[in-house]
Amino acid sequence: MDRQEQQKDLFSQWFEFQRSFLSQWADSFGKTPQPWTDGLGFWQGAMTPYADMFSAWSKMIQQTIGTTAGQAEEGLGRTVLFRTLGASNVFMVLNEFWLEVLGSLRELYEAKGDADKSRQIFERWVQRYRKVFEQVVGSPVSDSAQEVMTSWLNTAQMNQTAMGLIWNPWMQAMPQWREQAERLMKGDWTALTEARSLWREVYDDTLGRVFAAPAFGLTKEQTERLRRTYDAFVRFWSSLPVFYQLFYRTGMDALEKVFEKVQDLKVDEIRPETLHEAYVIWWTTNENAFLELFKSPDFGNAMAEVLNQGLMLKKRLDDLTAEWCKTLSIPSNRDFDEVAMAVQDLRRRVRQQQKTIEELQRKLEQVA
């Protein structure tokens, strides 16, 4: 199966899942004549235009202000403005999420007792909420989470072409990755960690061994240096999912708590009274949840792993650059470091000698 077919296969399954989900979702409408659910139904219609309005407004304001600010002179105000726009985006996307939730309350009511439907609604919220979270956490993983999964499949494909002998472990892992990719796309971020562990296992058994093997011939050192750099890149890249998965898992757990708080606040209904009220509950709940995460050994270990692998990658790249610089008449980082060390040593010596001179002068004055 070539790369395109693999992707098609993966995404056709996903598309099928979406299609059937949407179909069920559509069928569920129109079955609830309860008077108060008519009220909830109102949200479905009423909120949609507002949600669109928020999106449109948000885009418009970002573009307008972005253009204006882009033309403005560099300065503190401009810098802070861009930070403010980033935060405002979070606020707006969060508002849209609430509207999505409100808009599907009727469905949720109908799904009472139907665990599958309730789960599906919640999964939809999760999908929507990912956008909120991507605004906060940034998107090194979330933006490319699906790409990550696809890239792993690509790596396997590349490997098949180049190194047929070690293809089997990748092939064997493929079905699990497909299953994990589907789970990830439904919002299950633990799938990313599982996939990453499996990927690392397969990598260590295959390409990792190749990169660790000694090279031969005239280019031995350069080849080994390149392999070490590539290996460092792969290890850094594969350390990211666990780190970000912790963020997403905590974010999702916090979301559940937000819902609980909102329900506690409004006894009968899931409805924040003002958007700002919902926003305050949201950020304070998240802050506490993340504080707990940051204190945990899981986070400490994941942070250390990402940091160390990132540093190792930089170190390897610097080594490569230093070697390349050898052939040019420009100083490398190592040369600069040697100069810095010599300068600091000189500073200390000069100071010491100055003090000795001053001391001797004092003694001379006393004698005189």
Binding site: V80, S88, E273, L275, W283, R348
Partner: protein, 392 residues
């Protein structure tokens, strides 16, 4: 009652309220945009001061007096290497320095500067045993005094405590503020995170540690508040120009983060954060063991009760670790930054420091006459009069 509250508002009205809310937010955001785009920069630390000494990138400034001096012994302030001392003189209405000057204190301050690549091998020993010591000697010489008052803030407080332990004969009174001393605590995220960090790999790879990297770490301590809510709050107050100006000043300070000299950070994290050597008496600076028991001069240790950077459990133990018989510990119900800028600290912190110092200044300057006499009612321990290490 909560249920009743929600039922009073019909859905249609609620929808309209939401729309109004967004409309209001957007108009304020536009106002904020206008104000921010009109502001190129704001000025911090405007209290007049003169450069009196410089060594490499380190500068010593002397603040011009604002009133008659009430304490003849000058106060030297040592701030942290992380971030800038400008926080202590943020603006006219929020300036700990200005408040202390108004109480008649005579103030010098060390400005550590921005380490460049050339400074990656500047060590913790260089900072304390050379730069700080030379600044202290300069003030002593300029003022003809054997001893001066020393005040250390945050990491600068750790430096001051170490310095006072190494050179007790040069320090008349020691003040430490929001100062980490006991690093073995789980109350602060920095303490927890440092255990996982391979600082050797970091320094070997990066050389100096970028200020932006340090800043990211600080922002991560309260990510939602510091990266989202703070700016939403700015939008909410966009129609108040003074509030926007205040915000910008804080913002300028927060992101004004000098890089950290690699070798200094290596020792600070490894030997203090990870191994907690300071309170174990195992830290060595300039070839000398740092023994906190040698701190026998009056000590005022101030900590913030809600400090998330330097938790109280890290600051509080200092008084028990020194031999001083005149050790005072004071706390304020504020956070780390609130200690400099909150309205409460503006009212109470400077008077607390000034009164404490003035009581212990004595009436004579002690110029070239050895140690000034003890403050009233304070019994000085015999150890204080014993021979000490002489200055380099």
């Amino acid at each position: 009652m909560k249920g009743e509250r929600t039922m009073e508002i019909p859905f249609e009205k609620q929808t309209a309220l939401f729309a109004k809310e967004v409309e209001r937010y957007s108009s304020r955001l536009l106002k904020a945009t206008e104000t921010l785009l009109e502001t190129e920069d704001v000025e911090l630390a405007t209290s007049p001061k003169d450069l009196v000494f410089q060594e490499d990138k380190v500068k010593l400034y002397h603040f011009r007096p604002r009133t008659r001096r009430t304490c003849p012994v000058p106060l030297l302030i040592s701030y942290a290497l992380v971030n800038r001392e400008t926080m202590m003189d943020l603006e006219e209405g929020r300036s700990l320095i200005r408040n202390m000057l108004d109480h008649g204190l005579d103030i010098y301050i060390i400005i550590w500067g921005y380490p460049s690549r050339l400074d990656r091998y500047v060590t913790l020993d260089d900072y304390i045993d050379t730069y700080m010591n030379d600044c202290v000697d300069h003030v002593r010489k300029e003022r003809g005094l054997e001893q001066i008052n020393l005040m250390g803030v945050c990491q600068g407080g750790t430096f001051a405590a170490i310095y006072a332990a190494l050179y007790p004969e040069k320090v008349r009174n020691l003040i430490t503020m929001v100062t980490p001393i006991d690093f073995d605590t789980d109350d602060g995220l920095l303490n927890v995170w440092s255990r996982y960090m391979d600082v050797d790999l970091m320094v070997d790879t990066l050389g100096n540690i970028p200020g932006d990297f340090m800043n990211l770490g600080f922002l991560m301590l309260k990510p939602f508040q510091l990266m989202v809510d703070k700016y939403i709050g700015l939008v909410e107050s966009a129609e108040d120009p003074a509030a926007v100006q205040n915000f910008l000043k804080m913002e300028k300070w927060i992101f004004d983060s000098p890089d950290q000299s690699g070798e200094t950070l290596r020792k600070f994290v490894n030997e203090l954060y990870k191994e907690n050597r300071l309170i174990k008496g195992q830290l060595q600076i300039g070839g000398q063991k740092v023994d906190l028991k040698r701190i026998d001069m009056p000590l005022l240790n101030i900590y913030a009760e809600q400090d998330h950077l330097v938790p109280p459990s890290s600051s509080k133990p200092l008084a028990e670790l020194v031999s001083s018989t005149d050790a005072t510990t004071r706390s304020f119900p504020v956070g780390h930054i609130g200690m400099y800028v909150s309205s409460r600290s503006q009212r109470e912190l400077a008077p607390t420091i000034a009164e404490w110092l003035i009581e212990r200044c004595g009436r004579t300057t002690g110029a070239k006459r050895g140690r000034p006499r003890a403050s009233r009612g304070t019994k000085r321990p015999a150890a204080q009069r014993a021979g000490r290490r002489t200055s380099a």
